[in-house]
């Protein structure tokens, strides 16, 4: 007689959803078949021993977890503070550059305004001179850039081409690396 159906009954017994009739059937078979009796006993032992009381985590477990979480939050907070500081710094830089640019463009108005609110003439002229110098500097810089541009206009296209080739090859490389990683994961 095949013992396979009884193996399934044993599984049901371990799952805890065997019916009374099935259990009687199983018992009867076990009394007659020594192989199945051995098997049944082993299963019973396994289930019994596996049901041993669960391990208790150490008493300080929660405290340790909460401590770690606190550190984590603290860390996040610090990071946030740093980011805010950086954003503040960059925006104030941009703002002052913008202010200088505007002042350079409207330097006559700035000068007139300073005279109007009774700022000493010497100081106002100094400021005006400074703005004038910045304006000249801007002029020189922009002419220089235009000059460079006219020389390198052909080189520029070449450069763009080169950069795009480098970029594409980088993308291809990273795709390859990802593929290799995936494969190695599969083999593991």
């Amino acid at each position: 007689m095949s013992c396979e159906p009884f193996e399934i009954l044993m599984m049901k017994h371990m799952d805890g959803d065997i019916t009374d009739i099935e259990y009687k059937k199983l018992k009867k078979h076990i009394d007659e078949c020594s192989t199945c009796k051995n098997e049944f006993d082993t299963f019973e032992n396994i289930c019994y021993e596996l049901k041993e009381p669960l391990i208790d985590p150490p008493l300080a477990f929660e405290t340790e977890v909460m401590k770690k979480l606190e550190n984590l939050n603290l860390y996040n907070k610090k990071l946030k503070e740093k980011r805010i500081l950086a954003a503040y710094f960059i925006s104030s830089m941009l703002f002052s550059i913008l202010a200088i640019c505007i002042a350079v463009i409207y330097k006559e108005h700035v000068y007139n305004f300073m005279i109007y609110i009774n700022i000493p003439l010497g100081f106002a002229s100094n400021i005006y001179g400074l703005l004038e110098r910045i304006a000249v500097f801007f002029d020189i810089a922009s002419t220089f850039i235009f000059y460079l541009n006219s020389i390198f206009v052909d080189m520029l296209y070449l450069l763009i081409g080169l950069v795009s080739i480098i970029f594409m090859s980088k993308i291809y490389e990273s795709a390859q690396v990802a593929k290799v990683r995936k494969n190695s994961k599969k083999t593991v």
Partner: protein
């Protein structure tokens, strides 16, 4: 009065992170025992369990109410164990005396035999491939249902049932070959 899990979680997300301690208290035993039975190196169990709870905390906002919280937490623990096992093969360290609970009124000799038998079974459990071991751990040790296991492991019920069948047979075969050698 005890707050239900979902209330605790929602309040945690809204910033009352100290309430997470209550969640840890409720589920530490489950998580600890899954990890204890999946990771061979017992020295690392505590650290891993803590790490799992930190992961749970970080992903609280992604908790899906349709799952029981225990199932969801067990899923995170299981995945983390798999990651750890994949990353490095833990050295096999023999399991120390596991239970500190005295058995009924057995004679010392019986107690010794029982202890020996339990160690054999736990040893063999540790030697099962992960995907079979986890089922035995979840069902027989932690008392999860088939449905919960299917959610934890993201596999259909039929596969879980089939795999459990094979896991038990593997464990039995290993132990009965030892029985022939007179150990059991």
């Amino acid at each position: 009065m005890e707050l239900p899990d979902i209330v605790l979680i929602e309040r945690c997300i809204k910033g009352e992170s100290h309430l997470f301690a209550e969640i840890v208290e409720r589920y530490k035993k489950l998580i600890y025992n899954i990890i204890y039975n999946m990771i061979n190196n017992k020295d690392e169990v505590n650290d891993i369990a803590q790490e799992v709870f930190i992961r749970i905390y970080k992903s609280l906002s992604r908790y899906n109410k349709e799952y029981k919280f225990s199932t969801w937490a067990a899923k995170i623990a299981t995945n983390y164990c798999y990651d750890m096992l994949r990353k490095k093969k833990f050295e096999c360290i023999p399991i120390e005396e596991v239970s500190n609970v005295q058995m009924d009124n057995d004679s010392p000799e019986d107690q010794y035999i029982k202890k020996e038998r339990r160690e054999r079974i736990n040893d063999e459990l540790m030697n099962l491939p992960e995907k079979y071991r986890i089922l035995i751990v979840l069902f027989h040790k932690n008392g999860l249902s088939y449905e919960e296991m299917s959610q934890v492991l993201d596999e259909p019920m039929s596969i879980i049932k089939n795999r459990m069948y094979r896991a038990r047979l593997m464990l039995k075969d290993k132990l009965s070959s030892e029985r022939k050698e007179g150990i059991l």
